[in-house]
Subunit: 134 residues, 2 copies
């Protein structure tokens, strides 16, 4: 980690072995973490150029414009970068649900002390309806 | 991604090729994203057992109890998991600064439209003083 990356005013993205950085989307209105995904350099460029959050899908190995199918797009208001420049934080205006399961946030379950999961958020849309015709 | 991992009540962590999941720490009081790091299974277990955020340092290849050197520990109040179980969100009581550069959050710079970085947070501690005797 260079001092320049850490404190400087120049972008020196630190990609992992797969050419990716972590991207966290938070609700611009209340700061709630909505989801976490990955970006390569081109996905970050597209996000900055279009104003719509665009990730790199590791499973599908292609660009993933969030909400392209569901309409639940993320309009990006600000992009922050962390000290060692291997993660970005997107402040977004989230339309609908960030989670494809119909929850506002993908983080809708808590890990209990016994290791089981407890749902702590309510579904806001019916995913079957959203993706029915796709 | 199994339906069970997605919506179920059982923990089925999905580790990457290096045995890691993403871990995002947010301020339990106001939800601000403080930092992002990685955990392996043992680091998550230690975090749950001790109540102190414990990551896996990829650069040093060892456990990293956040704040061990600086005193800026993170007391974990809740752990959430995302739909595909490859990321956890820690709600923490952050003592001092999460960022080793003396900022409350590691995300203290915004990426401007021209690609330069602009500092958008103030330092809250002097890192030279914190780490001086280490």
């Amino acid at each position: 980690m260079s001092a320049n990356a850490d404190m400087g005013s120049q972008l020196h993205l630190k990609f992992d072995a797969n050419g990716l950085i972590t991207a966290i989307a938070v609700d611009a209105d209340n700061g709630e973490v909505l989801m976490v995904a990955f970006m390569n350099e081109a996905a970050l460029q597209k996000t900055m150029q279009t104003g719509k959050a665009t990730y790199w899908s590791r499973s599908r190995q292609k660009f993933w414009v969030k909400g392209e199918e569901s309409g639940h797009v993320q309009q990006v208001q600000q992009i922050l970068i962390d000290c060692d420049q291997d993660a970005v934080l997107l402040k977004v205006k989230q339309h609908g649900a960030a989670c494809h399961n119909g929850f506002r946030s993908c983080f809708f379950r808590a890990i209990e002390p016994d290791g089981t999961l407890k749902q702590v958020r309510e579904q806001i849309v019916n995913p079957a309806a959203v993706y029915a015709s796709k």
